[in-house]
Symmetry: C2
């Protein structure tokens, strides 16, 4: 196989299987080339990823080592994403009252979701977590995309225990958004004890819902090692959780003057 074709095959296969560890033998045999030639191909592929700002190849040496592609995003693409989202989210017709904004179109837009997922994949790839966890419904596409990029199973916590989930564990928690007691439920089969999870959600106000996720996961001795939310509300300043990454902050929703203020998050 010619060099230009090899690099194309390498990129197609790596980007189609993010975070999958490939034994270097895999490509040496596929291309029928020596390890030194493969190293050169990998170097070029890595240059391409770096120039396109789409991620990087990680090389793990030693026994059980190999290469894997970690999706990423350039700083300028993050700023571009934040700017376009700020513009879109500032449309006053999104104001629903009670401090709510209509955001479903953003959270269900596959290109925005992909770029947001790239940010979290980049931030959380080194954590070596076992799961990506979210609470239904609006954060599922984002969490699923992060899970795909990190090659991890997705766990979806339901609001109600569903029959099709088998045995479940449920908790009640205080939701600041709705100012009431809410419930969440997780399938026992979905998780193994003594593991680690990344939590992804579309929106965080006071952090009660994510604190609930931490609590329900702690029933399985699962530790939360990373938290990523797309949108964070400025108020309340004091959140129930610490150490989270967010992409944008909803600073103010002025219902009277129909004005919305969104800014890039300082917690990215």
């Amino acid at each position: 196989m010619k060099k230009n074709k090899r690099i194309g095959v390498l990129i197609d296969e790596l980007t189609g299987n993010p975070s999958k560890l490939y034994d270097s033998k895999h490509f040496c045999e596929k291309f029928d080339i020596a390890k030194s030639s493969l190293s050169e191909d990998i170097k070029i592929a890595n240059e391409i990823f770096s120039e396109n700002g789409s991620g990087h190849i990680e090389s793990i040496s030693g026994v059980g080592g190999g290469i894997k592609f970690i999706p990423g995003i350039s700083d300028s693409d993050i700023v571009n994403l934040q700017n376009i989202l700020i513009q879109k989210l500032s449309d006053p017709s999104r104001i629903l009252g009670g401090g709510f904004l209509y955001t479903a179109d953003i959270m269900y837009d596959s290109r925005f979701v992909r770029d947001m997922a790239r940010i979290f994949a980049d931030r959380f790839s080194k954590l070596n977590a076992n799961y990506v966890v979210t609470v239904e419904t609006k954060g599922i596409p984002l969490a699923a995309q992060v899970a795909f990029m990190l090659n991890l199973p997705l766990v979806v916590i339901r609001r109600e225990a569903m029959y099709s989930e088998g045995s479940t564990v449920s908790i009640n928690y205080f939701s600041g958004s709705t100012q009431g007691i809410a419930k969440m439920s997780i399938a026992k089969r979905a998780v193994r004890p003594d593991t680690e999870a990344i939590v992804i959600d579309d929106f965080m106000k006071g952090g009660g819902s994510i604190q609930g996720v931490k609590n329900i996961l702690s029933e399985f001795e699962i530790q939360v090692v990373g938290i990523g939310v797309a949108l964070e509300a400025r108020e309340p300043e004091k959140k129930k959780i610490k150490n989270y990454n967010s992409i944008l902050i909803i600073d103010e929703i002025d219902e009277e003057n129909r004005a919305i203020k969104i800014c890039p998050s300082v917690n990215l």
Copy 2:
């Protein structure tokens, strides 16, 4: 830029933006090459996609034309996927009683979801639909991946009208799975009238739920032009809907003998 690097950049950009139409000027300017050289590069990229079984490049000629990458999957990869899913789903510990199987781990596994999505993207790319629609919750990752591959917005129909969805339209329908009246609700902002939709779901028994989706979409004069379900139940033989694609058929769940029979779908 050297040829081997150009092809790598081309593949990285096309696979990262499936179904996006690129004016050929985009790559000619990026690479600083003539259209004839780009055509050669595209030919090689297309050969790579074809050999890897990952999709193909479609060339649209004339004004407003260009190239786009359509994800796909080889016939042998479909058979492989079906075989591994049959093996996984035949595990008797999945039997929940009442004709239910635990399938959440499959529907939340990013690699299985990606391969299933490739099948539907391949089948439905020529329909030129405006939306990919699903009903919460378990089919969302699959529907989101199909939406990503077809570069379409995802629409998630909720079970309950949520405040954060703004104004909604709701219907009641008869659900064969639960043998009762169920409700679904769609945000008015999520769709435009007189458009076309592809419906994706994780499971279909009698088709009542998908018939409900068709009904609620018809309130907006939206026509369903394609239907894809991951798993279909053999019974009832007579479905409420016609012309759908499914990947696997659950032939029989024998609760007494703890045996499950799954087979590849004839409706793919």
